[in-house]
Symmetry: C2
Amino acid sequence: MEGAIQNLHIPLISAIIMSILIKNTLLGGKESHIYIEENRISEIGRITEADEVIDGANTIAMPGLVNTHTHAAMTLLRGYGDDMPLHEWLQNRIWPAEAKLDGEMVYWGTRLAIIEMIKSGTTAFNDMYFFMEDVARAVQDSGVRALLGYGFIDLFDEEKRENEIKETEKFVRFVETMNNPRIKAAVAPHAIYTVSREGLEWSAEFAREKGLRLHTHVSETEKEVKDSFEQHGMSPVKYLDSMGFLGSDVIAAHSVWLDDRDIEIYAKRGVWPSHNPASNMKLAVGRAMPYSRMRKHGIKPVLGTDGAASNNNLDMLEEMKTAALLQKLSGDPTALPAHEALKMATEWGTQALGFNAGKIEEGYLADIILIRSDIPEMTPMHNWESSAVYAANGSAVDTVICDGRTLMRNRRIDGEEEAIRRAREMAERFYG
Amino acid sequence: MEGAIQNLHIPLISAIIMSILIKNTLLGGKESHIYIEENRISEIGRITEADEVIDGANTIAMPGLVNTHTHAAMTLLRGYGDDMPLHEWLQNRIWPAEAKLDGEMVYWGTRLAIIEMIKSGTTAFNDMYFFMEDVARAVQDSGVRALLGYGFIDLFDEEKRENEIKETEKFVRFVETMNNPRIKAAVAPHAIYTVSREGLEWSAEFAREKGLRLHTHVSETEKEVKDSFEQHGMSPVKYLDSMGFLGSDVIAAHSVWLDDRDIEIYAKRGVWPSHNPASNMKLAVGRAMPYSRMRKHGIKPVLGTDGAASNNNLDMLEEMKTAALLQKLSGDPTALPAHEALKMATEWGTQALGFNAGKIEEGYLADIILIRSDIPEMTPMHNWESSAVYAANGSAVDTVICDGRTLMRNRRIDGEEEAIRRAREMAERFYG
């Protein structure tokens, strides 16, 4: 990782800023000053001076968005295959391309993804992929926050399992050595149809021993559920629960094909279902995640874009709208209202990842975005939550602060041109 | 209409440009020069000089997008009510607000809508609303193309019908007097549940006598279809067809709840169904327009955003993605592929509206947009059609040319700040 080793990729504001003041931004509908000291929100309201002062006029302030399920480096595969049956897409396009990946490709694919995420207001993400040390370096060099898990896939083979266990342990040690409070390791067995029971059990045990989050895919397709009933005599959720896998430390991507008993198990265990509506629609999973039924059981669903190959962007503002629209389609216009879409994408998302951010209140981590309110699609602004969810897209984001550092001002991010150039070069390798 | 009368709103390039050359843009995947003379595309490829030369490096060229169903001035009601049951939304929010509308509000609401549309790549739209002379002035002052229909609603009352007939005739004469080739009048009876049979029959007859398009709402909700069976013993489509209303001059918004016989009638008559996926989802109509069945019958569906109160933006790039995703959700990932979403939004859309645009070929009207390809979400670009539909949103649009005039360069449009300011003022009147 030439680029990473040389540490060329220093965010816009490279000097250590001790305090930041955002003046006159709209916070929860009220004009406010937000004062940040070090990496935390220190005060709302009175302070009028700081090392760095940001004019927040004509903006609304929101917690940074949290993408709770993605495969960041798959930006390199954006548009590499679309409009195809899932099996054909995986077998003929995605898997052969992924076989060509190397650490350098993953580093630059992830760098590009993070720039795209910052530009659309995301300050934290949950990633599962390969070459995860390179992903961690990309996060380190970009200034955002991330929960990172090595995609554990043993295909029910003992030798492979031993290898995946070693890879997982090695990556967790790597993250410990980084000692960067913005970066946390997760244990990420891919899914019940790619990981043996032994692999899943080891993952859960190892995660709890280390105090780490678990990240997996659950009940994305009807086929997965049918196969589980055939092989295990129970649903994927029940199967995972039967081995003690599920808990409030588990992020369960997709969670589309759940029945009422599955939902009860999620509620009881405190599982975080990560809703990925654009990916679910694009890959034609056949129905929407049962959001309203989950809410009735007190579950707090969170939101994610999935990888750019099945979306095909990482825009969480767009994803909030897609989620809200998809939940309403079936007949209830009050389902998933705007203020809940915002909670999914901020407060609940950050709880799922285990960071103390997601709210603009004293004491929380300073992960804050400013959205322009003086652009056509935000005019007029009868209701800021509705405008943010239904009218805006990622291009409305003007300023991004993560961990008390300004990563973007006026939509400018240092290193953007280089990341685009390098990602283009990396993508050429699929054709080599 | 003070602003309009004073003609203050002159687009960016106010001098009459005789020729424009777009150099080195990507057209259909090939680097090309596009040469425009007066308001038409004159040549692709050889010419190297012109009065205005646009550097098209790092852009892809596409025909301007066509929004085939909207109520532009409803930008003023963006976010005024959301996440509510349809009836409550209309009765308690939309209708009381619309009762306060005047011509000045509609003028500025439409100006704002047109700026939003230009900024997201739309060069032509199909509008149905009130105070349509003010809408026409807004189109005239903005440089885009539009098909405009006065929303004819008689509520089955003879006196009201006579008034609506007069309003329609008056507006058609007004557009004739404008004598602006960018602006065409349509006849726009609102729907079968708001317009009497006599009103619908008069509309069809008048439209054909004058050679005008018809624009109406058809089978948006299940209730509309059930009511039609109760009242007329047949579906809304069959009912309209029974009075000779349907033809290749009809744009039928929504067209969600169609059965196989309805689809056969559409195919036989050459009706243009306008798909409005975001609005349908947000208002919870219960299912998706039967796009694939329509295509099997040779129907060419077109695309629209509906009004900003039920979307809540006018971004046709976003709408293409929503349409493609919605059609796939139910189980077929090959449904509505990217290249067809582009056809819906360009070639077919312009045919529906009756303008000779929608293709970048010699002889077509010069309605062209340039989309940036050097931004994160367009990187890498394995497939330009996929990138445009699935990865881009309206903010990727850099340059907009309509009728041979440059309306936007580098995302700058003359008069944007004023339109935003005035629209904000107008929206205050809802609270007065």
